[in-house]
Symmetry: D5
Subunit: 138 residues, 10 copies
């Protein structure tokens, strides 16, 4: 077992291939991960069951592994902020601002070729997908 | 997302290839999964971080998906039963008895060619590996 | 053998990769499955012989495995509803409405990139192809 | 759709690679097909659900496609002939005699390198596995 | 050896993947089969030597295996019908009409994505290529 | 189309990889080519239908392409020489002597690792398999 | 070793897949063979060292193996004919005329999809690339 | 170990496939190497840790292995020349001039199909990426 | 670029697949890495040139990434301890003891199936190979 | 084109994977390279035609690329030294002694797992095979 925070072989190798400006999607259980990411995006299926693991568990681990420069989420139709966004902000800290995109803009971003990794979770909460932008390590 | 208890594509397809008498290993975070299972055993890395997911989370899901006829665990050197065995028994119910093997006998069983799947977890407890035998569905 | 309704390894793993809005085609025996689906659509050849299995057998199993949000079929030229549509409606229940598309619109839908799985059957009845849309599991 | 009795691409191509003395296993739903056939045996998963298709459906199709010289089945422990053996005999006709082997001899035969194809079914009856030997076409 | 007319594994498996409207090219020895068919067309090289086998030998076998709905050939520049067209018509019988296309239209048809199989022969006669359209089996 | 006698891409490339002492099997339609040659032997399926092509057609082409130092055939049980052996001798000329081996010795030779190529034909005559030994080109 | 003029397995198998109108590039040592041919062009690296082998050695061998209908070379900027063109003409004989294209037209031709094979040599002379068009064998 | 300056197998084989005008990128640790080079560019990950190896170490080795005709770097926004450019010039000597491109022009050049190799380093200095053009060896 | 000490994708993914008791070889530039490790050992060629990188650079990075339980080195014939062993001890600290094996015992250990990773360096010092045993992370 | 003596991509990458004690076979045109080397030996087919290239051309290039510690050749039956051995000695210089093995011992050595590369030539002289042992680079 690695001493680092993330211990998954596939996630570690794909993150190691990312550079400044590349993006990582952490997807909830109902996200159409094969259709709504790029064909070349690496898919990591670490989902086990409904609710296992959650998107916030994954975000926590990634924030220890790479520099996160920016994070994008799906805006709700009624403009209300979902509860999970507070958790996102707490984990990201001051390092990265959270931008909300409307649903179709979010999908469009997820299908671009700089999305290098999509991690499938069992997350059951709604509006729980988050798209991270890799920053610089000095 | 599948309506079934297990939602992982790789685990579902490998379990679907198993028959009566085949075996499944749920491994803790320090288990040498590539060395101490058969070369042809399918490895599913759903491990994320230290403690995520646990072996008992996986066992719970598998017990909803296949019939478990028998379960084998590693005996401690001092003959004391680890706490996690109680959890194992509770999940398995009356369906399957728990057999404890000494360490080397356990490894030997895990390397046999009828071990079809090994699932890597982030489990941090000791003596937490469990080897399941698939039963019959009538 | 899995305890779940569907026991086919390839179908289970592909369904597990689907999310909200992805589509599944159950094709009759004469459907040109390689030409009239997307290049990246996974093809599952479970067809054995003329009439084995039928499209309705497959639909029945899938309706136990995923949430079906919508179903599309080919409209006949004379506007008469084929007998098999009654069977489709009975299996789908109130969960999903059946939409009929003209032949070329149906082909067009089947070739889109969100069609993730095409299952080849031995179905001999006419107008027997059905295109399912995956719904959400809460 | 082929005009021939068998319409499955994988089964047809593997049968076409077989010659005199090669063997084909039609396996029931609980048979450990990956463990108890040869590593190089081609596996065809045409199983859909519990009971679909049956072993006898497959046998019927194969008997139209290849010459069957011999057929082997598992003997019961009590020496009673299972009902399904009558169906086997009816389909095979006078072309091939049915030999019964004890369980471990049957497994042993199934693991030999001349077993070229193993077909996974959803058959739920017991003692339903059958191992065919390909004959000569003049 | 299969009891069916066609005994080639690759040709049988590709034909089994074809449906209504898919096309099959039987090419003479000088046809640029890699350049003038679709990239995804399966190529079956059963050619041995100059004149072995002929296109008509292959056509005879295919007509026993699939329903042929239509056949297309290359028209000569001078409008004279090559002798081999008579052989084609005899084999096809009343099942399928022979359409002649000019050379470039023929190439264009051969490069479409519904051409699933191209069979390389050693045919030495000129104007000997034939493009078959798969029909329906009821 | 090549100007050389043999025009098949797979056969030409495999023959080009052979050296002094390597062997080539030309198999009749009922020979179990996958079971009774070496696992690493390249298989070339140029068989089309019953009787197409014959073993002698292939032998004729190979004798123009490589030097044949020796040829082995299966002896009949009654010691009678099959008619096809006369054809073999005529094609081989004085270049190579024909040795007959009993059936099991023949199989044994065919399974050795120096058998580099096995060509599947549709030959229907009996005792028609022939195993060639590649000679030296000066 | 083959008795034919060309003994290279990869070159022989690719030439055997060519038909009328396909093209073959013989490239000198500095030609950017991966960039300036088609992505699907087969590359044969038979280059050993500076000057080994030469383009003319390869041309000589190919002219014994296929019919060459046409040959294209790069014209010099000053209109002077390079010495190597005389060697090309001598090898090609009356069978094929030599056409000279300007540099960019030559590259454009080399990148077309009918260029099936590019052979890398160690040729050190300038203007030494030659693009052959395969003719018909009757 | 090779006697040549560069001893890496992957780098050596890719450089050997390059010709006149092909390009090689040596990337610093934060460069998005998968996104901002061509899909077909070969990636060589010889990076070990922060600062190991440096871009200048790699440049030094490459300048001993291929002829470098031209080198391109990213210009700073303020027009100031980064210190590392002096090192680049010293290694390249008089053989190749250094051209600076603005950031987006540099990315554009790196994504062209003639970029055959991208080498990932652990370089931590900024403006440290360099794109080399392969020259001619006489 | 990862924030972790090791940034190489291949090394990170292979280390993540290791468990308690698995072994990692860091090899010097002359070590026959393909012959004297296990066939299934993953090879990571991060070697660039003579002396780049060194074995100690790699050891330093690995000691930050995994728990090292034991380390084995080659003993000299004359029993003198090479200078590099002092560096090894300094990096390993009190975590792991250094065992020296004679040359053939060392090779034998390196060829065992629990050696999961071999890293090729450009190290030029003698007796510089080191074989690490992965420990437990609690 | 590389500035190094050897310019072949496959040979360079395989040599770069070799270490002290690994072996390289340069084979004449009639050597059975697939049968009489190890299954895992990399085969490089740079042979073009009878006599092109020669074994001595290849030896010359390799002696510039790696350190040759030892060379083995086949002894003649009559004890007479073939002329080509003088050429071998001249190229190898004082660096490596030539050992002659009897034919079967030579084959045996060539089939060992430390033979990493076998290069196919068109050499027509007899007793022309040579097996090199890689030495150390300091």
């Amino acid at each position: 077992m690695l001493k680092t925070s993330c211990i998954n072989p596939e996630i570690m190798s794909t993150l190691a291939c990312c550079g400044h400006g590349d993006k990582i999607l952490i997807a909830d259980g109902n996200y159409p991960i094969e259709s709504n990411t790029n064909t070349n995006t690496k898919k990591a299926y670490i989902n086990l069951s409904h609710g296992i693991p959650t998107v916030t568990q994954v975000l926590n681990v990634l924030s220890n592994t790479i520099t996160i420069e920016k994070a994008e989420v799906m805006a709700t139709d009624d403009g209300q902020e979902p509860l999970i966004f507070q958790e996102f902000k707490k984990i990201l800290g001051t390092e990265a601002t959270l931008y909300d995109l409307n649903r179709f803009k979010f999908y469009e971003e997820c299908k671009k070729e700089n999305v290098k990794l999509a991690i499938a979770t069992g997350e059951q909460r709604v509006y729980a997908n988050i798209l991270l932008t890799v920053g610089v390590v000095n």
